[in-house]
């Protein structure tokens, strides 16, 4: 495992905790095949114990790589989409792009990709916080969610 892969793998837990603080007893799946035909998404989070809205998160070490992952994130079904990256990898150009009118938004319709920052604190502990809140994308995903839940067990749940 490369240092980058290690950093991204370690980030799943703090990013999960970050979303737990903002959602209601979510069910969280790591490396989820969502949809099954695509490569895995880093986090699939289903609010309200697996009965609510669906959030997906792509975690990258570098901010530039997270932004590059947005088009693929947009193709996956979800009510809320997020990117997460290490805060110290975002330069001025990235900051401007995140605040601009294009990067986080779909070409049409409602919704905005949210941004989660990962920070390294004392003792090499990782933390995460929401930098830009996601906005809801349209659509009902009840059938896909039911099929997924029947075939997968969450990595984090509140049962």
């Amino acid at each position: 495992m490369t240092p980058t892969q290690r950093a991204e793998a370690r980030s799943k837990e703090p990013v999960s905790r970050c979303l737990i603080r903002h959602l209601i007893v979510p069910s969280i799946y790591w490396d989820a095949l969502w949809p099954a035909s695509e490569p895995s998404v880093d986090l699939l989070v289903i609010d309200r114990a697996g009965s609510g809205d669906i959030h997906i998160v792509e975690i990258k070490r570098r901010a530039a790589d997270a932004i590059k992952a947005i088009p693929q994130l947009m193709r996956r079904p979800a009510h809320y989409r997020w990117i997460a990256f290490f805060a110290d990898t975002a330069d001025r150009k990235i900051e401007n792009a995140l605040l601009g009118p294009r990067v986080l938004f779909p070409s049409e319709g409602p919704g905005r990709v949210g941004v989660i920052e990962i920070v390294r604190t004392a003792g090499d502990t990782l933390g995460a916080k929401i930098r830009i809140p996601a906005e809801r994308f349209p659509g009902s995903l009840d059938k896909q969610a039911a099929s997924f839940k029947a075939a997968n067990k969450p990595d984090i749940s509140f049962d």
Binding site: L23, A49, G52
Partner: protein, 141 residues
């Protein structure tokens, strides 16, 4: 669900949501805020039980006697043939409401406070898994 019932249900659900979030936030510092965590755990489940009963039956629990909701929830589970696991968590918290609120004994960080938080979260998860009326309605966040 009638429009008025839905409106009232969402009010109680939103209240439960805020109690839950406050409980989780304060539990980051149990030494300082443990008493508040325990009380918020109790009120999280009281509000959510009200949301369930209003959403599923149109009638809320007795605001003077929260134990009455145990029977109402149990009947609802019987009618729908769903497990009653969550009711045990609700009962535990309701029985602690008075000692948590007014008791002379200092609360134990594990036996009281961590357990209260865990039971509030587990009751909440149980409720959303089994009652679509409260899980699917209205804004999610």
């Amino acid at each position: 669900m009638k429009a008025l019932d839905k409106h009232v249900m969402l009010h109680h659900r939103a209240r439960s949501d805020t109690f839950l979030h406050a409980m989780q936030l304060l539990s980051l510092d149990v030494n300082e805020y443990g008493n508040a965590v325990a009380l918020l755990a109790v009120h999280t489940v009281i509000s959510l039980a009200d949301a369930i009963l209003i959403g599923c039956t149109g009638k809320r629990g007795n605001e003077q006697d929260h134990r009455a909701a145990i029977g109402a929830l149990s009947r609802l589970c019987g009618e729908r043939r769903i497990n009653r696991d969550g009711i045990g968590h609700y009962r535990w918290l309701i029985e602690k409401k008075t000692p948590f609120s007014y008791g002379d004994r200092r609360l134990d960080p594990d036996k009281d406070i961590t357990s209260a938080r865990s039971k509030a979260e587990r009751f909440t998860a149980w409720a959303y898994k089994h009652f679509d009326e409260i899980a699917k309605a209205g804004p999610q966040q």
